[in-house]
Amino acid sequence: MPPKSGFSRAKNVDYDDDDIYDDYSEEEYAAEGEGDAMSEEDKEQMAAGVAKVKEALGSEYKVKEVDIQDALWNYYYDVGKSVTHLKNKYAPKPQTPAKPKAVSRFDQAAGAADAKTPTSTGKHMLICSTESTARTTSDWAQDSERDSITTICETLRDQLGALPQELLNISRVIPNHTPSCASDYTSARTKDFFWDMPWGNVPSNRLATITMQPSPYKGGLLGGSSKLAALAAKRKQKQQEEAAAKADAAANGQTADKAVALLDRLNFKDKPSAPAREDTKPRYPRKRSATPPPQEPEFVREEPITEPQGIRIEFPNLRAKQPSMFGAILCGSPPDEPEQQHVKRALSSFPLPYANAKAFTDADPFSKPSPDDLVRQAQARSAGTPKAKAKTRGKSDGDQLADSVEKLVVETKVKSKNLDVVEEYRKRHVDHGKSTLMGRLLYDLKIVDERSVDKLRQEAETIGKSSFALAWLMDQTPEERSRGVTVDIATVPFETDKTSFTILDAPGHRDFIPNMIAGVSQADFAVLVVDAQENSFQSGLKGQTKEHALIVRSMGIQRLIVAVNKMDTVSWSKERFDKVRQATTSFFETASFSLKNITFIPCAGLTGDNVTKRADDARAEWYSGATFLEALEASEPKTRALEKPLRLTINDVFRGSGQNPLSISGQIETGTVQVGDVVLALPSRETATVKAIELPDGAPAEWAVAGQIPTLHLVDIDAVHLRLGDMLCAPTAPVRLVKSFTCKMLAFEHVMPQFVDVFRGRQQATGLITALASILNKNTGEVVKKKPRIVKPGEVARVRVELEGSAGLPLEVSSRIVLRDGGGRWGRDC
């Protein structure tokens, strides 16, 4: 290319001819193949071109065929250009003015460095072009030398002279020759192209023959021209030898063909260089590997890598479809394979070490019944015998438990009668002697030992109240002892030969009526203690005794034992006893007690006569009835609703021990409780778990039923959620907290719509009677009068009560409450 362009430009300068370079030639070149020698196509084209040129030149010009071929080759078979070139060359015009100029320019530009060597032309070309170009040029020069040295030398001179001229004076040349502007531009472009080529990054398509060299091509020519020149000379020599070998067989055109083919390569600069890469040239020049990496990823898998150094890698399919048994378990089965089969195969490939042992193969582990079967058979055999322990711990089926408990009660009737005794002693304010009577009872039953009684007696004497020693067994707080009255409920369990009792010593003083109500609400029956002394009895019947009896009645207690105390002070007078009996009987009749449920017993608590043993006083021989204890034992307990859901009113909250940080005690009103049950505390609505149950006598138990007053050790609840009077109930059937209710009421005083205190056990709330609905018949329950304005004492009325405050009371149908206003009170249920 540079020879051509330079050449044409030189001609243009001189003659301003019409051989304007056009793109046609390039397109034609693009279609040409490449190769070291001329292809058949090229030969054909060359032959045709020669004929055309000869025709165009006519006979005026004596041009050798070789020249024509050369010209055609230089112009790439462009007949017109070749003809013009040849015409110019062989024209009779003198060309001398141009030549010296060109030579001088060339000399100037080429410099002294390369001027000495005889192969200066080729060497200079090397500087400006690639190695292939150099070879082409040298080939060309060789051919020219052989045939017409002078002519070709001239041509070369022109060519070479034009190039440096361009380099130096490009700006000057272009404005001077406007008609050949396109040609100038092209040559400038090609010049630039070849100029920078050795210096910068050489495009790979221009390095097509580099790998043919024995030594790696360094990619730079800077200053190394003499070495390269030597190489070029060597190559030239080699090619001369080749040419000589072929000389006899090949025509002249064949050598030219080779050169043409080599030159053609240069013209691919505007084409995609795909064909040039088909040889083994590496894509990544820096990699020293002789093996090219796969261009396409699939290459690796589909065909083995060709390894020229002898390594041949076979990758048939490296992916194992089947992992080890561990991997199979970890990864799961592949989607296309059923899991069972997969695991089975993994198992079969893993030899169990003991699988071949004789003991293993001979063993038949399922020939005999399994241990479980043995146990079940044994259980089935023993199923016929009655179960002693039907109540299984942790079983929360209340009905089942209740059944078993009832069975148990029947079997051991004497032992677990489970009566609860409320000792209701009343007299006026104090000193009717109920605490003393109870102390005597305990003392005589050996519940308390003599030593502690002696101690109490001693203490009582120091403060001048020696008669209170027995009472102090019940009244234990300093306040109670110093005042000599019972303030709070005291619960003391004791047991006789037949029955176990729990004493609830309730206060008699009117200041402590709420405590008394709490006690009475837990009681099965009541013991009324009246003073046999005349003055005391009279005042007592007017005062607290009457009220207490009403409360007892209103809480639904039917059974009453009246202990006429202090008979020793009245010399066991029968008259006195009868008088008291008559007076109280008339009172009880008005309070709707049934007389057959009332037992009168004369006794003396201080001396113990007729309490547990018969009075040995001769004056008491008139009484042949039961002693106080016998009367107690004769009492039948109330029937309890075991099947109903659990209801337990908390009587006490305390810290039982270190193991039981939170314990409560109270009477179970209905239902059952057992260890492990979850109970719901109301009104705090917190749940707790029963960790352990203790019976009143301190014995641990697994269950407790209605009527008992057990101690429950609770867990999973904070103490702040439990207060005296709160209710524990079954979480499945909790008591509703009501704020307003309608109740049937037995009035003991005049009742109008007014504010009242509502008591339910220990719980207390302020309420308002909003409406008096009706007055009922006391016996039949029929409505006597609707919307009364006032309820008189002794009448039964239906009233509506609304509670104040936020919490409300846990009330159920048929639960008993007490409405109390200041001193007056009336009862009863919802």
């Binding site: 990544y284 990699k287 020293r288 590997s289 093996t291 990496p293 796969p294 990823p297 690796v300 898998r301 890598i305 390894e307 150094q309 390594i311 041949r312 890698i313 076979e314 990758f315 399919n317 490296l318 992916r319 194992a320 479809k321 089947q322 992992p323 080890s324 561990f326 991997g327 378990i329 970890l330 990864c331 799961g332 030899p351 070490p353």
Partner: protein, 313 residues
């Protein structure tokens, strides 16, 4: 060393435990040597590899690699050659903690841990120096692949658990019990780690320039070059090389040469890249499967959860 001891657990004896040696191997002199495994595959033949992704449902990406034992002898309980079982899981990319300094690129953390039972010489519960070293090598291999610029202020953790590692020598050779060994087994482990971590990263969907794969080549005493050497099968390994290789870019991100390589290490490295090409072919298949599965899942909606549950097995 004292600071590194594990005080939280009751540890096995420090000398480690190993499978029992049977009396027959001691009584009959030739018996032990008859158990010695030999390489049955060709020098350029690789072991089959099992690889599966998505084994840990809770991780963003996970993979399990297994290079199973080529031949298993039925006459003894002791496996003649060790196999490689590695599980990898990727946590992240997730935001860096507030305490961490700003990072414009993804912060890569690699943790390589041998299970205590992974090798005949029992490993501790705390990472030892060899494991930390492997972690650094793995990080080097992966750092060149992940395009970290796309995840500023984020971190990703690559957690590798080696469930069974290639031994350094055959168990019957005296001295192999010492635990020091030639260290050529570690190269296999590293190559496996690179491959399985690459699969896990692929499963996690972290942007990468290419799939990196590990490969090992070694030179035996007679100068023969073998690919994917199993140290138990070769008595006379002279040098070995593990590479992390990007096949389609023809780049090496990680290289670990060990032993007396000789004058021309290039040939050995070249061989290791060939071995890596084998891993790439497996990786590529798994990637395709993974892609297909994910495409199916996006089509079918909630099927993924079901599958995940099944895989936990």
């Amino acid at each position: 060393m004292a600071a590194n001891t594990d005080r939280r657990r009751i540890n096995a004896p420090s000398g480690g435990t190993s499978a029992p040696v049977f009396a027959k191997t001691v009584l009959e002199s030739g018996y032990l040597q008859s158990l010695r495994p030999n390489r049955t595959r060709g020098p350029n033949e690789l072991r089959k590899t099992f690889l599966q992704t998505g084994i840990v449902p809770s991780a963003s990406g996970s993979a399990y690699l297994e290079v199973p034992t080529a031949s298993s002898s039925q006459s003894t309980l002791i496996p003649p050659t060790s196999s490689l079982k590695i599980a990898a899981s990727i946590q992240g990319p997730k935001p860096l903690p507030r305490s961490a300094p700003f990072s414009p690129t993804l912060v890569l953390t690699t943790t390589v841990k041998f299970a205590p039972f992974a090798t005949r010489h029992r490993r501790g519960y705390i990472r030892d120096s060899a494991e930390r070293d492997l972690g650094v090598h793995l990080e080097t291999a992966l750092r060149g692949v992940i395009i970290g610029e796309r995840w500023p202020k984020s971190g990703v953790e690559v957690v590798i658990t080696i469930l069974e590692g290639d031994e350094d020598a055959w168990w019957g050779d005296s001295g192999a019990e010492g635990g020091a060994g030639s260290g050529f087994g570690l190269l296999n482990v590293l190559a496996g780690c690179i491959t399985v971590a690459s699969a896990a990263i692929m499963d996690a969907g972290i942007d990468c320039v290419d799939m990196v794969a590990g490969g090992v080549a070694a030179v035996t005493g007679d100068g023969q070059k073998v690919l994917d050497p199993c140290p138990a099968e070769h008595q006379d390994l002279v040098a070995a090389c593990a590479v992390g290789y990007l096949a389609s870019r023809d780049e090496i991100t990680e290289i670990w040469l060990k032993g007396d390589v000789g004058a021309d290490p290039d040939e050995l490295i070249e061989g290791a890249t060939h071995a890596a090409l084998g891993s790439v072919s497996v990786l590529r298949e798994v990637l395709l499967e993974n892609m297909e599965a994910k495409m199916n899942i996006t089509k079918e909606g909630s099927k993924r959860k079901l599958e995940d549950v099944e895989m936990t097995g």
